[in-house]
Amino acid sequence: MRHLPNYVVLVIVALLVAFPLLLALSYSLMSESEIATFPPPVLPQAPSLDNYATVFSTIPIGRYLLNSFVVAGAVVAGQIVTASLAAYAFSFLTYPGRTLLFFAFLSTLMIPWEATIIPNYITIRSIGWLDTYQGLAVPFMATAFGTFLLRQGFLQIPKELHDAARIDGASSFRFFRSIVVPLSRPALATVAIYAFLSTYNQYFWPLLITNQPLMRTTQVGIAQLRFEETLRWGLVMAGVVMVAAPTLALLIVGQRQLIRGLTSGAVKG
């Protein structure tokens, strides 16, 4: 009972934070003329799924969702593999020039993505990967940020474990697989979720390298729902809800890992 005031505050703050999302859901169930009334309504008078039906008839949303999932899934797998192996090399292996190499690696974070668009596009085009899943996914399979995050996570693992494993005759890969990966699950989950969301939300790259309607992704689909001259909020919101729902589900599932992952490295322990 003595927690009641806390919960009241939490519920209010939660509603405030979720308000834009809830409003999107509410608008997606309203007709255009209902949205246009003043003052703007918060809840639909006569909820209807018409907007959702229109989304289905306007764009192949199912296919777009599938494409986005395939691409985002591939990027997650790619980043987890490349980033964790690279991070291992930067934290447990000792070789000359390691620090220098690590900083060179990190400095790529400073290159604005926009500067790489045209070279990337030309590369993808010259190997014939336009309109393909590999064209959408491969350029994003290595990540400096993810490597940095995982390296910081790996550094938390006591050096003694590494020594003990070596004494017991474990190879580097065995130690990586049996000790490092299980201990770093929160950090790996963070990289995975971050990679998934940033790939899922991409707009310009998929637009650039795809021309076939069936190879496009969800964000391009949302753009197709935006009519140049008359914005139909209900329709756009229905599309947004459909596209956002899977990412929300992912966030709810991964939330616990994500919070632990983001704070790992923040506190020693």
Partner: protein, 449 residues
């Protein structure tokens, strides 16, 4: 960026410097059209469906050429993608580019001017809407084929007019009339809060361009950039300052609503009856009628103009047009031209109008069934057609062409905003904006000789 300005369509020369006949720039008449070409467009939603209908119709109408239409995001996204494609030599044969991308397309030297095909085939453009064609001309040569065209009109709420004791069949036409009507239409609730404003235009650069045109005043020098490359903008002219002062007085007086730089916000305020009048594109008409769904009667009137109704004032059209790309082989250019001709046929134009609400470009389209049906369903559209037909054709009403038009439009928006919020006087805001953009024009002209 590749800068290859063909001598004939290049910028620097004096008026009429190019040859009078551009046929030589088009592929020979005997070139066999390519079997397949790609067309990039920026039409989303229902307009995308309308585009697909045209393409399907064309592909079924003959067996030699197959056109593939691809949506490439909004106008800006499409241009960005086009830039990337040009850099790697993978541009399509036909692209749709918005009105303000005109100088950019021309100065880059990447296009075959539409005039080349028109001259080569002695193609007859007599039946075309002159106002629409003129917008896409440089030194009187057509650069691209107008595709989707609209203009700006006054939208008003007839029910609110009746309530305020105004004649619902007589919309205000001049700046003072709009202000007077707006005062009468503004309504306050018991608490003294304004529950309805008389007039609520978005701070939208295009609307400012239109207001200058109805004032008969040019936006930029060198014949609005149509006789030669513009070197400076003229937003600090008396006509421009009059517009800014009128707008500011309305907002200060509390009878103009200021939605900010927000076109959708202004449209929603009108739908929600928070404003009784506003100005916007004709392309929004159908959306308004469908959204309002009979809750009030929508009227349309001529775009506001100065009180003395200048003789040479009129409306500019807006929208987008189709460009044939020079980097594609001759047979693809040929195929693109065949498709453009199909798009211009009256039946296709009428279908396009009834599917989207844009103007037909050829007058004969109005005799076609779909166009007539549309006119009877949305009689308000007639205002727009008449407005454009009655506009005198001169450099002011042809509209401005600038290489930095997108930036100029944004800068005017900032200028208007600063004035409306009282952060600077009309004079100071206009001078600052003019200086900013003149510097950019200078830079552009030097970079694209």
């Amino acid at each position: 960026m590749v800068v290859l300005v063909a001598a004939a369509c290049g910028g620097g020369g004096p008026v009429g410097a190019g040859p009078s006949d551009l046929s030589a720039q088009a592929p020979g008449k005997d070139v066999k059209p390519a079997a397949k070409i790609t067309w990039w467009h920026a039409m989303s939603g229902v307009n995308n469906d309308a585009v697909n209908r045209i393409v399907d119709g064309f592909n079924k109408s003959q067996t030699n050429i197959k056109v593939e239409a691809i949506f490439q995001g909004n106008y800006d996204d499409l241009l960005a993608k086009l830039n990337t494609a040009i850099a790697s030599n993978s541009a399509p044969a036909l692209v749709q580019v918005y009105d303000i991308g005109q100088a950019y397309m021309r100065d880059g030297g990447q296009i075959v001017p539409m005039q080349a095909f028109i001259d080569r085939d002695k193609f007859d453009t007599k039946d075309f809407e002159p106002a629409v064609l003129n917008y896409y001309k440089f030194q009187d040569k057509l650069q691209s084929m107008p595709f989707n065209s609209s203009s700006a009109i006054l939208y008003y709420n007839k029910d609110a007019f009746k309530e305020a004791g105004l004649d619902p069949e007589k919309p205000p036409a001049t700046f003072t009339e709009v202000a007077d009507a707006a005062k009468k239409l503004t309504k306050k609730d018991a608490g003294g809060q304004v529950s309805r404003y008389g007039f609520g235009p978005s701070i939208y650069g295009w609307l400012f361009e239109q207001l200058l045109a109805t004032s008969g005043a040019p936006y930029a020098d060198k014949g609005n950039g149509r006789d030669d490359r513009a070197t400076k903008v003229l937003w600090n002219s008396d006509a421009a300052k009059k517009i800014l002062s009128w707008w500011k007085a309305g907002v200060d007086g509390g009878y103009f609503y200021n939605p900010g730089i927000d076109n959708d916000g202004a449209a929603n305020a009108f739908n929600a009856q928070k404003t009784a009048m506003y100005i916007e594109s004709t392309a929004r008409l159908r959306g308004h009628i469908n959204t309002v769904a009979g809750k009030f009667q929508i009227g349309t009137g001529l775009y506001p103009r100065p009180d003395d109704k200048p003789k040479d004032g009129g409306n500019i059209i807006g929208g987008a047009s189709l460009y044939i790309m020079k980097s594609r082989p001759a047979d693809e250019q040929q195929a693109a031209w065949e498709f453009v001709k199909y798009v211009l046929s009256p039946a296709v134009q009428a279908q396009w109008q009834s599917d989207t609400g844009y103007y037909p470009i050829v007058k004969a389209a109005y005799n076609e069934g779909p166009s007539k049906e549309w006119a009877s369903k949305y009689p308000q559209f007639l205002t727009a057609v008449n407005e454009i037909r009655d506009s005198p054709q001169n450099r002011a009403t042809n509209g401005a062409v600038l290489g930095v038009m997108p930036q100029a439009r944004q800068r005017t928006q900032k200028m208007i905003e600063v004035v409306l919020l009282g952060q600077a006087t009309v004079d100071a805001a206009a001078d600052a904006a003019v200086n900013d953009i003149n510097a950019q024009i200078d830079k552009y002209n030097k970079a694209n000789p």
